[in-house]
Amino acid sequence: MGSRLTVFAWAAKAYGRWRKRKMTWLAVGICAAAAALICAPLLMIPGGALMDSAEVHRILAPVMGEGKGFAVWHLIPLYPTLDHFYRLLVESPAFYQLFWNTVGMTAAILAGQLAVGLPSAWAFAAFRFRGRHFLFGLYVVLMLLPFQVMLLPQYIVLQKLHLYNHAAAVILPAIFSTFPVFIMYRGFTQIDAEVTEAARLDGAGEMQIFFYVGLPLGKTGIQAAVVLGFLEYWNLVEQPMAFLEEQARWPLSLYLPQITVSQAGFAFAVSVMVLVPALFVFALGQDALEEGIAYIGVKT
C-alpha cells in the first residue's frame, strides 16, 4: 500500500507540476519514459487479455520453464480474440460471485470506516482534551503496524467472537483501521478554527457544527480516505486468505490465484475486469485524492 501510495503521490505531483509550471520538453520526456516503465505491467494486461491461449502460452513459455530464452511481450496481439472475456463474463459465474462479495465487503468496510472514523477524526481535529496527543500517537502506531503483526491477535479475537470464516472477520478489523482517521483528521485540521468558533457563537451545537461545518469543509479529506480505502480494500488479499475458509465468501482478489498458469490469458482478462471499478473510483476521486495526499504532508 505504502509503495503504491508513493507512486501515485509522485505521479500526481509530477502531473500537477507539469501542468502548472509548463516543464520543459526534456523533463516531460524523462517523466514519460519513467511513466512508461512504471505502467508497462499495466499495458501488458489488456494485451494479454486479448491474446489467444496458444499465443500467451508461447510467449510465457520461458517464464514457465517450458522454453528457452526470454519472454518477449507483444503489446499488440498477433491473434486478437475476445474468447477470454467471453469465457469470463458469460461462462464464469464464480467471478461474479466474488465480484459482488468484494463490492459488498468494500462497501461495508468504507461505510463502517466513515461511521467510526469520521467522529474520531473530528474529535482529534476539533477538540482539545487530555491525552489527545497520546491517543493520536497510538492511532499512528496502529496505522504503521503491518497486518502480519496483527494476524495472530486478530485470529484469536475472531475465534473467540465466533467470527472466523465470516465476512465480518474481514470487515470489522478494517472498519476500525486508523489510516482513514488519520487522512480525515488531516482534512478537518484544514478548517479554520474561526469558522467553528463562529458557529458556536451563533448557537450551533457540537453535532450541528460536525454535520454542517465539519463534514462539508472536510469533504476532501473524507473523499480521499474513501478513495484510498476503496483501492486498498478492493484488492484485499491477506485478510480474506487468513480468515475466510469458505470460498463462497472470498473477495475477487483471491480469484486470480485460483487460475492456473496455463490460463494466463484468462487471468489477464480477470485483471482487466478487476481494474475497471478501481479506475472509475480513482477517476472520480482523483482531485480529492491529490488534495488528501497533500494533507498528509502538511504540518499541523
Binding site: L89, P93, Y96, W100, V103, Q247, P277, Q286
Partner: protein
Amino acid sequence: MQMESKKKLWRGFAAFMAAMLVMTYVSRMVYVSRMPRVRWSSPIEASIRNQIRAEGTVEVVNAQAIIGLEGLLVEKVCVVAGDRIETGTVLYEVNMEDMLAQLAELEAQEQAWQEQEQAKRREAATGAVRAQEDYDTTVVELDRKIAEETKKLEELLEDLDTHMFRIPEEDASDEIWIAWADERLRFDREIAEKKREIEDIQLEKDKMLRQADRNIEDARRAQSAAESGLDLGAGGVSQLLERQERIALLTALSQNEGKVTAACAGDVLEVMMQSGMRMGASAVLRYADDEGSRIFRTVISQEQKARVHTGDTVRLTFPGSAEEVGETIDSIVQENGSYTVTVRLEPGVARGRTEGVMELVSTSEIYDFVVPVRALHNDGGNVVYVLEEKEGILGTELSVRSMTVRLLDKNEDYAAVADELLTGDIKVVTECDKELENGMAVKEWGE
C-alpha cells in the same frame, strides 16, 4: 475535474455495475444450462434376477446320405441345399437313354447266364439218373450171382447129406471107407469154397453198391449245385445278386421315368452332384431327416457362464416358428475364452430350423447394495457416481464423486455392487444427460 465529466464518470460507473449485475444473472443461467442434470436413487437390498438370452444354431445329428447310382448319368438336379423336401419329392433325374442302355446290357447278361445254368442243371440231372440206373443194375446182377452160388451151396449140402446116409458098413473094406471119407472131405471143401465165393460176391456187392451210391450222391450233388447255383462260388453269386439287384433297381427307376425321390421328409443339407455328372458309389446328397435328432448350440460369455450350468432347464424358441420347448443343457465346453453350450433336442423338434434362441432365468442371493445398472460406469473399472453437496465459490452445490466399486452381479436393469464406503443412505446417480466427471457440479432433474 469538471462536474459534467464527473457525472459522466458516475454514469459510466453505474452502467458498469448494472452491466455486471445483468451479466451475473446471464452467466448463472449459462452455467446452469450447461450443468448436467441427474436423477439419483439409494442402493437397495435385493437379489438379481438374470435372464440370459443367447442366439445359436440348430445342427443335425447323423444326417442321412443318399448314395448315387453308380455309373448313371445325372440329367437334372431338382433340389439345392436348404430346400425342404417331403416324401416323394424328386431329388434328381438320371439320363433315361443311358440308363436303359445299361439295363438292356445287364438283362442280356442275365439271360445268357440263365441259359447256361439251365444246361448245367440238365446235365447234372442226367448224370444222377444214370448213376441210379448203374446202381440198380449192379444190385440185380450181384443178387443174381449170390442166388446162384447159394443154390449151388444148397445142392452141395444136400449131396453131403446124401453122402452121409451112404456111410459104409462097419465091416466095409478100408478102401471103401477111404473112398467115402475122401468124398466126404471133397464135399466139405466144396461147401467151404462155395461159402467163400458167396461171401466174396457179397463183399463185391457191398463194394459195388457203395461205389454206385457214391456215384448217385455225386450226381445228385451236382444236380443240386446246378439248380441252386452253388457252383458259381462266392464271387459269382455276389456278381449275380448284384446284377440282379441292379436290374431290379434300374427297372424300378425306368418305371419312375428316371426320377429319384425322397424316401422321407426333411431338409436338404448338401448337394454333391451336378447335371451331366456320372455318379460314383459315394453320397450325392445329404439331408436332415425330420425324425432324426438335432442339437442346439450357442456361445455364451464368461460372465454368463457363471449363471449357466449343465443340467439347467432352458427355454428354446426358433425364429419364424411358434415352437417353444424346454430342454436341459447337456454340456458346456470352454473354447477360446467363451463357452459353447450344447442342448440335445428331442427327435422331431426344430424341424427345418437352423437358428434358435436360448433363454434361462436365474435368481441370485440377496445383495446389500443393488443399484440400477444405468448407474454403473466403466471408467477403468466399475464406477458409480455419488451425489453429494460441495462447498465452492458459488456456495453449496450438488456435485458428483466417483466411487470405484466391486461388481458382484448384474442383469439388464440392476447391478449388485460392494465397497467399504457404500451405505444405504448415499445417493447414487442413476441418470444423467451429460457425460459425468469426478467433481462435476450437477443439478437435480426437475419433474
